[in-house]
């Protein structure tokens, strides 16, 4: 996969017609992040990825709860 990925992207960038784009402007990039839609989008990604990747299917656990009688 890694080798195929390199060859594939090299081919794509060679054969796909190049189009013009603006010179990179870091301030413009930072400004584009300061948008409620972006912040909500990033938060949603974090929550979605955590729910997808963070729930362990390979490990289990047993819990027990008790009253700490010395604190009564």
């Amino acid at each position: 996969m890694a080798v195929v990925g390199i060859v594939y992207l090299a081919a794509v960038t060679t054969y796909v017609p190049s189009s013009s784009f603006a010179a990179p402007d870091p301030l413009m990039g930072l400004h584009s992040l300061w948008d409620p839609a972006v912040l909500l989008f990033l938060q949603s990604i974090w929550v979605g990825m955590f729910l997808f990747m963070g729930r362990s299917h390979m490990t289990g656990s047993v819990l027990s709860f008790f009253v700490r009688k010395e604190h009564l």
Binding site: M1, A2, V3, V4, G5, I6, Y8, L9, A10, V12, T13, V16, S18, S19, S20, F21, A22, A23, P24, D25, P26, M28, G29, L30, H31, S32, L33, D35, A37, V38, F41, L42, I45, W46, V47, G48, M49, F50, L51, F52, M53, G54, R55, S56, H57, M58, T59, G60, S61, V62, L63, S64, F65, F66
Partner: protein, 262 residues
């Protein structure tokens, strides 16, 4: 970043850094509950992906791509790569509950130009995604995601390296003090590799350092207008490392002497 890695490499192999929280789900015996374990793997991976996506949006914004176009591109690509991380692991490793970063990244690389072309057909030509800088931003951001994301592997004890005792003498000398020693019976290296408390090649740490260094170089190249150089430097180093580092890994990578991931 140096301080984060130094801290993470020291503590994440320990037993207590695998499970982040446990949610009681349903009763077992009296006074006991079966729990759902929430992992640091998920916490770190979610953070890594979010940082990578944020970086991608930053780079696309820096070249004046409209926000709606960028969001559509990222969302479409994630809808393909996230399920692919599970499906490809299932096909290659024949395991249902495993994820593969290599498979997800391959899917992303292959599908990114296709997704960009489809989105360009849906938008006005003035809002079109220029393929070369978009691919460059994607590969550079992926390097950041993989750099941080490998810390998740250390916490879960997956994607582990070979035991030092099985390595060449030069490797044993090189990693005499800089090895990982995972503890905890529920770490993958323990239950799948039988290598608990055994010094192993810190392959996840090496990948994290290489990927993060590549990210910094790529960002420098991209933001100074050399987007093609940023793409190829990031692509070549991350993918060549993925291919050449496989012999130093001890986890199951499918059958055959050359793995599908290479």
């Amino acid at each position: 970043m140096f301080l984060l890695f130094r801290w993470a490499f020291a503590i994440l192999p320990r037993e207590q850094w695998q499970i982040l929280a446990v949610l009681p789900q349903h009763r077992a015996a009296s006074n006991q509950w079966h729990g759902l374990n929430l992992t640091y793997y998920g916490f770190i991976t979610a953070s890594a992906v979010t940082l990578a996506v944020g970086n991608m949006l930053f780079l696309l914004g820096a070249i004046h791509i409209p926000l709606s176009t960028s969001l559509w591109f990222v969302l479409s690509l994630m809808c393909l790569t996230v399920p692919a991380s599970k499906i490809i692991a299932n096909v290659v490793e024949k395991k249902v509950f495993t994820f593969t970063i290599g498979g997800a990244s391959f899917t992303g690389l292959v599908m990114a130009p296709v997704v960009a072309v489809v989105i360009n057909r849906m938008h006005h030509p003035s809002d079109a995604l220029p393929i070369l800088p978009v691919l460059s931003a994607l590969v550079i951001s992926f390097a950041l995601g993989e750099g941080i994301g490998r810390l998740a592997c250390i916490s879960y004890g997956c994607c582990y390296g070979k035991p030092l005792s099985a390595c060449a003498p030069i490797m044993q000398t090189l990693f005499k003090t800089l090895h990982f020693r995972f503890t905890g019976a529920t770490k993958k290296i323990a239950y799948a590799g039988n290598l608990e408390s055994i010094p192993v090649v810190p392959i996840q740490a090496i990948t994290a350092i290489i990927s993060t260094t590549v990210y910094l170089i790529g960002m420098g190249l991209f933001l100074t207008g050399r987007v093609a150089s940023g793409l190829f430097v990031s692509l070549l180093i991350t993918q060549v490392w993925r291919a050449v580092s496989e012999p130093w890994r001890a986890d199951h990578r499918g059958h055959g002497s050359i793995s599908m991931y290479q």
